[in-house]
Symmetry: C2
Subunit: 193 residues, 2 copies
């Protein structure tokens, strides 16, 4: 197995497990085992160990979500785009388990973010940047659609908070229902420029 193949497999597995189960709950052995990557290769590819893995995982997660958001915003108005995003998230929780696992790698970012706040500063920063990255995408779209600067900022922060919180409720209830409730109030929320 060549360099990039196993490195990538390890990293994607780590991203999924960190996001889904959490940073502390995920062991290096588990990552290695589930990735199916060669056993001796972990510390070759990631010399700084678990923290390096976490920071790279955060970047992966950030970009996956950012791409998804930009894609939605390109073809729809703010209300529709945000609702599409929530619909997609809700459906993940209703899908079969194997499919869930695959998608969950990009979904519950909040768990890692909360944990990171008390790990190293580098990890905290990576999470902070992620939220700012997503926020900027929202802000830009909302301003394009005529929202004031202040309103766009408040709404963007609130939308991200709602979605992250909604994901936590969905995990806890093992159901996409909470995300659909959030989806339902999006028109009201965004009806105030």
């Amino acid at each position: 197995m060549n360099h990039n193949q196993s490195r990538e497999k390890i990293l994607l597995t780590a991203t999924r497990l960190f996001c889904l189960r959490g940073y502390h709950a995920t062991g290096m052995n588990q990552i290695l085992k589930e990735s199916g990557a060669p056993k001796g290769s972990l510390y070759y590819h990631f010399p700084q160990g678990k923290e390096q893995l976490a920071i790279e995982a955060l970047t992966i997660s950030r970009n996956l979500v950012a791409d998804k958001l930009r894609g939605n915003f390109k073809i729809a108005d703010p209300v529709t785009a945000v609702q599409q995003h929530l619909q997609m998230l809700a459906e993940i929780f209703s899908s079969e388990e194997r499919l869930q696992e695959e998608w969950f790698s990009i979904v519950p970012f909040g768990l890692m973010a909360a944990e990171s706040a008390f790990e190293t500063e580098a990890m905290r920063k990576a999470c902070e940047e992620t939220f700012f990255c997503w926020e900027d995408i929202y802000i830009q779209k909302l301003e394009e659609h005529g929202y004031s600067e202040d309103m766009a900022k408040s709404l963007s922060t609130s939308l991200i908070a709602m979605i992250e919180g909604g994901i936590i409720l969905a995990l806890t209830q093992k159901s996409g229902q909470p995300l659909l409730q959030v989806k339902a109030i999006i028109p009201n929320l965004l009806n105030c420029k």
Copy 2:
């Protein structure tokens, strides 16, 4: 030290650490050390170990927040009450560190909830019940103020999601600012019966 004193000290310390740092990140030794409770007493008071401690901590957290919500709702209309709650939360993040520590025991419930979803079913259930408990408080208040049943339900779920998500953003940014952004859009959100 008598029975109840050390039991309570252990439990309150556990609640704070679990909520703030997470379930997996918190060790039994740390709980013992920070609580200042007698070293041999932990498994005497909590024979089922860490999980028992977690479930009892979840109950503590649930009731502290529920009492706070009910108190706010008793003296104010929905918009004002929710804004007061967010203001209080935001101020915690601006207060001095020692005071933060004390309050944080009731604040970042979402971290434990997300972790619990993949621990034992008993822990997951305890989190689920907590969210339902809070939701009922919101729903009742909103219905009293003329919101339809459906709208009250969607709004309640969304408010909880927003607040939990807002707390995660606040932790990540080490600032109460995100919670104030959320506070700012509450009037818009609740202006639709």
